[in-house]
C-alpha cells in the first residue's frame, strides 16, 4: 500500500505540464520564489487539487505550528529516504539491523508528526485517512513501542587504532577531538562559525559486527526489531519508500509560504481568487512580484486590474498592450502571468481579489537572448510562436512580450497581427506587449500604459483599455536626467521614504 501525496490527488505522471520552466522564468518566478519550486509550478494542479492546495496554504497562514510540523516532517522524510537507500545497499546483518532501527525511529517520528496536522481540504484529509488506517493496526502499535525502546547509535563517538591488525575499536566518551580544536581556537579569541556537514566514511561491514560486540544486548534488540517488522514496512503492507517523496512536496509548500510571508510582511496583499466555471480572468489590484524582488515598496508599486472574459457576448480574452517606454507594460504582463501560474497551483495570488477559470496550458514568448544557431532571430521567434499558435484554445494562456522585434517594422507588424488574431479568435487568454502602434485599432482589443501629458509625460504605471495608440512620448533631456525642481523634490521624498 502506498502513502498518499500532499500535492496531488491524481498522479501527475501522465499530465501535460502547465508551463515550461523558461516561461516561469520569463514571468519572474525563477527569481522569486526561486528555481527550487519551478518543477512543481510547471506541473500545475487540476480543478480538484486547486481548492485542496488552497486549504493547505490557508492552514499554514493561520497556524504557524503546522508549518513547523511540516518542516520537521520534511527533514524526517529526507532522512528516511537516505536510510532506506543505505539499507538496500548494506550486506552486513548488523549494518542492516542498525539502519533498520534508525529508519524505523525516523518513520515513527514522521508519521507522528503528520498525524498531528489538522485536516483541511482533500489532500490533508486523504493523508490523515491513510495514517489512521496504519496506526490503528496492532502490529504498528507494537512496532512503535519497540522502536522507541531501542537506543540509537547516531552521534556516538568511537576510536579506532590503526593500521595494525586486529584493528581496535572502542567507544569514546570524552570531548571529541574536533570539538577540542574549536574550543582551543575559541579560547585564543576566535569565533567558531558552523560550517558544512563534515564528510563521513563508510567502514568495512565488519565494523558493524564489532560495534554490536561492544554492546551485545543492544545489538540483539536491534536485530529482533528488524526480524519482526521489516516484512510489514519494507516489502508488503506499508511501503515506507512511498512516504519519502513527501519531503520535496513539503519543501515546495514551505518555500512558497516563505515567499508569501515576505510579500505580506512588506505590506502586499495576497488572496485566493474564486475558481470560476466561466471563461474569465478577473483580478483586482494585481501587481508584479518581480518588482518587489527589486526592492520596491507597496507604496511605490502601482497595482492594476484585469478584466478578461470570453462568452456571453464578450470577446475580451486577448489584448495588445502598448504605451510609453518604462510605463509598466512588461510589469503588467508579468503580474498577470505570475498570478495565473500561482492560482493554477493552488497558491495565494498577489492581488486583492478576483475569479479565474481553470486553464491547462500557459505560454510565454519573450525576446530570446540565446544563440539562434543558423536560423536567425526572426526565424527563431516564428518557430516559438508557431508552438503557441498550434496549442491555442480556450484553455490556453499566452503572454507575448515584444514578439517579432527581430524583424523590420512591416514584417514584425504583419506576423504580430496574424498571431494575435489567431490567439484572439481561438479563445486563448493573454496579452501581447508591442511598440508597434499600427497593430491597435483592429478586432483584437488594446490596452495602454498611461502617461500624464500635463505633468511632463510622467509615468503613471496605470494600464487602461484604449481604442488605439500613436505615441511613445520620448522624454526631454531634463526629464531624462531628473534635474528639474519637481524631480529633485520627488527624489528627496523617495529618499525620505527609504
Amino acid at each position: 500500500m502506498a502513502f498518499p501525496s500532499l500535492l496531488y490527488l491524481h498522479s501527475p505522471a501522465s499530465r501535460v505540464p502547465l508551463a515550461a520552466k523558461e516561461s516561469l522564468c520569463d514571468l519572474g518566478l525563477g527569481d522569486a520564489p526561486g528555481e527550487r519550486v519551478l518543477p512543481v509550478l510547471a506541473v500545475g494542479a487540476d480543478e480538484a487539487e486547486i481548492p485542496a492546495r488552497q486549504a493547505i496554504f490557508s492552514l499554514l497562514d493561520e497556524d504557524p505550528a503546522a508549518a513547523d510540523t511540516l518542516r520537521a516532517a520534511a527533514a524526517d522524510a529526507a532522512a528516511l529516504a537516505r536510510l532506506l537507500r543505505a539499507l538496500a545497499h548494506t550486506e552486513s546483518a548488523a549494518g542492516q539491523d542498525l539502519l533498520f532501527l534508525h529508519a524505523a525511529q525516523t518513520a515513527v517520528s514522521l508519521i507522528g508528526r503528520l498525524e498531528t496536522l489538522p485536516v483541511r481540504g482533500a489532500l490533508l484529509g486523504g493523508m490523515r485517512e491513510a495514517l489512521a488506517a496504519l496506526t490503528a493496526t496492532g502490529w504498528y502499535q507494537n512496532f512503535r513501542r519497540a522502536a522507541a525502546l531501542a537506543p540509537p547509535w547516531t552521534g556516538e563517538a568511537v576510536r579506532l587504532r590503526l593500521p595494525q591488525r586486529p584493528v581496535e575499536l572502542r567507544a569514546f566518551g570524552g570531548m571529541p577531538t574536533g570539538e577540542m580544536w574549536d574550543a582551543l581556537a575559541a579560547q585564543m579569541g576566535g569565533e567558531i562559525v558552523p560550517g558544512r556537514r563534515s564528510a563521513s566514511r563508510r567502514l568495512p561491514d565488519g565494523f558493524f559486527e564489532a560495534l554490536f560486540r561492544l554492546d551485545e544486548e543492544r545489538g540483539r534488540a536491534a536485530h529482533a526489531l528488524r526480524e519482526r517488522y521489516a516484512p510489514f514496512l519494507l516489502e508488503a503492507d506499508w511501503d515506507l519508500s512511498t512516504l519519502t517523496p513527501i519531503a520535496d512536496e513539503i519543501d515546495f509548500l514551505l518555500v512558497m509560504r516563505r515567499f508569501f510571508d515576505e510579500l505580506r510582511g512588506a505590506g502586499f496583499p495576497l488572496t485566493y481568487p474564486a475558481l470560476s466555471p466561466a471563461r474569465e480572468l478577473r483580478l483586482t489590484d494585481v501587481y508584479d512580484v518581480s518588482l518587489v524582488r527589486r526592492g520596491l515598496t507597496a507604496a511605490q508599486i502601482v497595482p492594476n486590474d484585469a478584466a478578461f472574459s470570453l462568452g456571453g457576448g464578450a470577446h475580451d480574452n486577448f489584448f495588445f498592450l502598448t504605451g510609453a517606454n518604462g510605463g509598466g507594460k512588461t510589469s503588467y504582463l508579468r503580474a498577470l502571468g505570475a498570478a495565473a501560474v500561482l492560482f493554477l497551483n493552488g497558491c495565494p495570488v498577489p492581488c486583492r481579489g478576483g475569479a479565474m477559470g481553470c486553464f491547462s496550458r500557459l505560454f510565454t514568448h519573450f525576446p530570446n537572448t540565446e544563440d539562434y544557431h543558423d536560423s536567425g532571430r526572426f526565424a527563431d521567434e516564428l518557430r516559438r510562436a508557431e508552438e503557441i499558435r498550434a496549442a491555442a484554445g480556450p484553455e490556453t494562456l499566452a503572454f507575448l512580450n515584444e514578439t517579432f522585434s527581430g524583424a523590420d517594422e512591416a514584417r514584425s507588424a504583419e506576423a504580430g497581427r496574424a498571431l494575435a488574431e489567431t490567439l484572439w479568435q481561438s479563445g486563448a487568454f493573454g496579452v501581447y506587449v508591442t511598440h508597434i502602434h499600427t497593430l491597435t485599432g483592429g478586432d483584437v482589443p488594446a490596452l495602454a500604459a498611461v502617461v500624464d501629458e500635463a505633468d511632463g509625460n510622467r509615468r503613471t504605471y496605470r494600464i487602461t483599455r484604449v481604442r488605439r495608440t500613436d505615441s511613445s512620448h520620448a522624454a526631454d533631456i531634463l526629464y531624462r536626467y531628473g534635474l528639474t525642481r519637481e524631480q529633485l523634490a520627488e527624489r528627496r521624498r523617495t529618499h525620505a521614504g527609504d
Binding site: R82, A86, V158, L160, R170, R197, R201
Partner: protein, 517 residues
C-alpha cells in the same frame, strides 16, 4: 568543518565608510601632493584609496589621529611593525610556494596507499610548521608594541589581539600539538582515529586523536582524553593521574589494509585542515595591517615634509555627522605649501560651511580654485585622520565628498558646446544619484557651458536640493545671477576673491552693497 574567524585587527578602524566622487581624487590633485614623497607607488595608492573612503564615526577618525601621533613620536615602532608585517606576508607566501612544490612531487609519485599516507604526513608536518611560525610572528607583534608607552586604542587593540592568541593555556596546547606533529608524525607507526557515527553508521569527520611509535606489541587498552592529551602530560602529572579507565574494546580482524589507509588519510587530512584553518584565521585577522601601515607611512612622510618646510599643522576637532560643521581658520592649500619656494607666502583664508553653502566669485587667477582645493583637501584629509595646514579646524563627519569640476581647462570647440552641456548635466545627475545627507559637494564653474542665465536657473534647484538634503556646497562660479538670487538667503555665504595686490588670493565674505551684482 566549522570555520574559525578572529576579529579583524585594524589600525584604520572598521565600520562604515564615506566615499568621494569618482573624479574627486583627480580634481583635487591628491596624487600631485603625495607623489614626491619617498614612498613606494603601492603605498601611495593605498593612501589615495584610504582618503577616498573616510570613516563615518568620529571615534574612528580620532583613533587614527592618535595612531599617527604615536608613529610621529615613535618612528621606530612604525619601522618595526612594517618589518613584522612583511614577515607575516612572507610566511603565507613561503607556505604557498612550499605546498605548490609538495603537490607537484605528490602528483608525480606513484601512489600506493602507504606512500600516499606518508605524503599526507609530510603535508601535515609542513602545516604544523606553518602554524607555529604564524604564532611566533604574532607573538613578535605583541612584544614589539609592549616596548612602547602610548595611548592609542587601535595599537592597544592590536597588541591585545596578539596577546590573546599567543598567551594562555590554549595557546600552549596548540603550540605543543603543532610541535609534536612537526617532530613526530613521520616516525609514528600507530594512530588513533576518532569520529562520530552518523545515522547510517558512517564515521563522520574522522580525525587523528593520537599517534605514537609502537614497536611490534599488543594493542594498548584504555586511554581517554582528547587532542593527544596523553602526550602532553608531564611525568608528575602522569603519576598523579589515576590510570586511564579500562574500556571494553572490540577487535576487527577483517579490516582491509586499504580501508585502514583511507581512514588514516581522512584523519590526517582533517587534522591538517584544523591546523590550517587556525593558522589562516589568525593570519586573516592581520591581513589588513601591512596595507594600513602603508597609509600611515605616507601620512608620516607627508607630516614630516610639512614640518621640514616649517608649516604648522593641526589635527582638526571631529564632530558627529549631525553637527553639520566645516570650519577652518587660516586654512592654506597643502599643494602650494608643499611646492612653493616660500611656503610662508601662501595666503590663508577662512572656511565656514556650517550654515549650508559658500558661493565664491572673483577675477580669474585670484585664488578661487586654490581655495576650493584647500577647503576640499582640508576636509578630506582631516576626516581621514590627518592634520591640516590651518590655525584651527572643526569638521563633522561626511558621508560623501563629491566634486563637479567643469573641466574649465579643457579646450572645447563651439561645435561641441551643445554636447558639453549635456555631458555636464549627466555628470551632475550621476553625482546627485550618490548624494546622501551630510554630503559635501564642491563645484567649480559648473553649468557655464550654456548661457549664464540658463546655467544659473539650472543650477539653483540643485544647490537648494543639496541644502534640503542636509548637505553643504562650495561653489566657485561666474554665474553672478546666483549672487543676486541668494543675496539674503540664510545659510549661503557669498564670498569673493580679490584681484587687488594688497589682498590678492584671499577669500572674504561679501557684505552690504557688494552682495548685489
Amino acid at each position: 568543518m566549522p570555520e574559525i574567524k578572529f576579529p579583524k585587527c585594524t589600525l584604520l578602524g572598521g565600520g562604515e565608510r564615506g566615499r568621494i566622487g569618482k573624479t574627486a581624487a583627480d580634481d583635487l590633485l591628491i596624487l600631485r601632493l603625495i607623489r614626491h614623497l619617498p614612498a613606494e607607488t603601492p603605498a601611495l595608492r593605498v593612501f589615495l584609496d584610504t582618503v577616498s573612503a573616510p570613516p563615518l564615526s568620529p571615534e574612528a577618525v580620532v583613533a587614527r589621529q592618535e595612531t599617527l601621533r604615536v608613529f610621529l613620536t615613535h618612528p621606530s615602532l612604525l619601522d618595526g611593525l612594517e618589518e613584522v608585517s612583511a614577515r607575516l606576508a612572507q610566511i603565507r607566501q613561503n607556505w604557498d610556494s612550499e605546498r605548490a612544490k609538495f603537490f607537484t612531487v605528490r602528483r608525480l609519485s606513484s601512489g600506493d596507499k602507504t606512500t600516499e599516507f606518508y605524503n599526507a604526513r609530510l603535508s601535515l608536518q609542513l602545516t604544523a610548521r606553518y602554524l607555529k611560525l604564524t604564532l611566533m610572528t604574532l607573538d613578535a607583534v605583541r612584544q614589539l608594541i609592549d616596548r612602547y608607552h602610548f595611548e592609542a586604542p587601535a595599537l592597544s587593540a592590536l597588541r591585545d589581539a596578539c596577546a590573546r592568541a599567543t598567551t594562555g593555556a590554549a595557546y600552549r596546547r596548540v603550540w605543543e600539538t603543532a610541535d609534536r606533529v612537526e617532530l613526530g608524525i613521520l616516525e609514528a607507526t600507530s594512530y588513533e582515529v576518532e569520529g562520530t557515527l552518523d545515522d547510517e553508521g558512517r564515521l563522520t569527520a574522522p580525525i587523528l586523536a593520537d599517534f605514537r611509535f609502537v614497536p611490534a606489541s599488543p594493542p594498548r587498552r584504555g586511554g581517554e582524553g582528547g587532542l593527544f592529551s596523553a602526550l602532553f602530560r608531564t611525568r608528575s602529572e602522569a603519576r598523579a593521574d589515576a590510570p586511564p579507565p579500562a574500556t571494553e574494546a572490540a577487535y576487527l580482524n577483517e579490516f582491509p589494509s586499504e580501508a585502514s589507509y583511507d581512514l588514516l588519510l581522512d584523519a590526517a587530512g582533517e587534522t591538517e585542515r584544523r591546523m590550517l584553518s587556525l593558522a589562516r584565521a589568525l593570519l586573516a585577522s592581520m591581513e589588513s595591517i601591512p596595507r594600513e601601515l602603508s597609509f600611515y607611512r605616507v601620512a608620516f612622510l607627508y607630516c614630516r615634509r610639512m614640518a621640514d618646510r616649517g608649516v604648522a599643522m593641526v589635527f582638526p576637532e571631529i564632530l558627529p555627522e549631525a553637527a553639520h560643521v566645516a570650519e577652518a581658520r587660516a586654512l592654506r592649500d597643502p599643494i602650494l605649501l608643499s611646492e612653493a619656494a616660500r611656503p610662508e607666502s601662501v595666503v590663508a583664508s577662512d572656511l565656514d560651511l556650517s550654515g549650508g553653502g559658500m558661493l565664491i566669485r572673483g577675477p580669474n587667477g585670484s585664488g578661487k580654485t586654490v581655495f576650493l582645493r584647500a577647503a576640499s583637501l582640508g576636509v578630506l584629509f582631516g576626516l581621514s585622520g590627518l592634520p591640516v595646514p590651518a590655525a584651527s579646524a572643526r569638521f563633522s563627519i561626511r558621508r560623501g565628498i563629491f566634486t563637479h569640476f567643469a573641466a574649465a581647462e579643457a579646450a572645447l570647440s563651439e561645435a561641441s558646446a551643445a554636447g558639453r552641456f549635456e555631458e555636464e548635466v549627466a555628470a551632475l545627475a550621476a553625482v546627485l544619484d550618490e548624494l546622501t545627507p551630510s554630503s559635501l559637494l564642491l563645484l567649480n564653474e559648473t553649468f557655464q557651458s550654456t548661457s549664464y542665465p540658463e546655467g544659473a536657473a539650472g543650477i539653483a534647484p540643485v544647490l537648494e536640493h543639496i541644502l534640503a538634503l542636509g548637505g553643504n556646497f562650495l561653489f566657485v562660479t561666474h554665474l553672478t545671477e546666483l549672487f543676486t538670487l541668494y543675496r539674503d538667503t540664510p545659510g549661503i555665504i557669498l564670498c569673493s576673491s580679490s584681484g587687488e595686490a594688497a589682498d590678492r588670493y584671499r577669500i572674504r565674505p561679501l557684505g552690504g552693497a557688494a552682495k548685489n551684482i
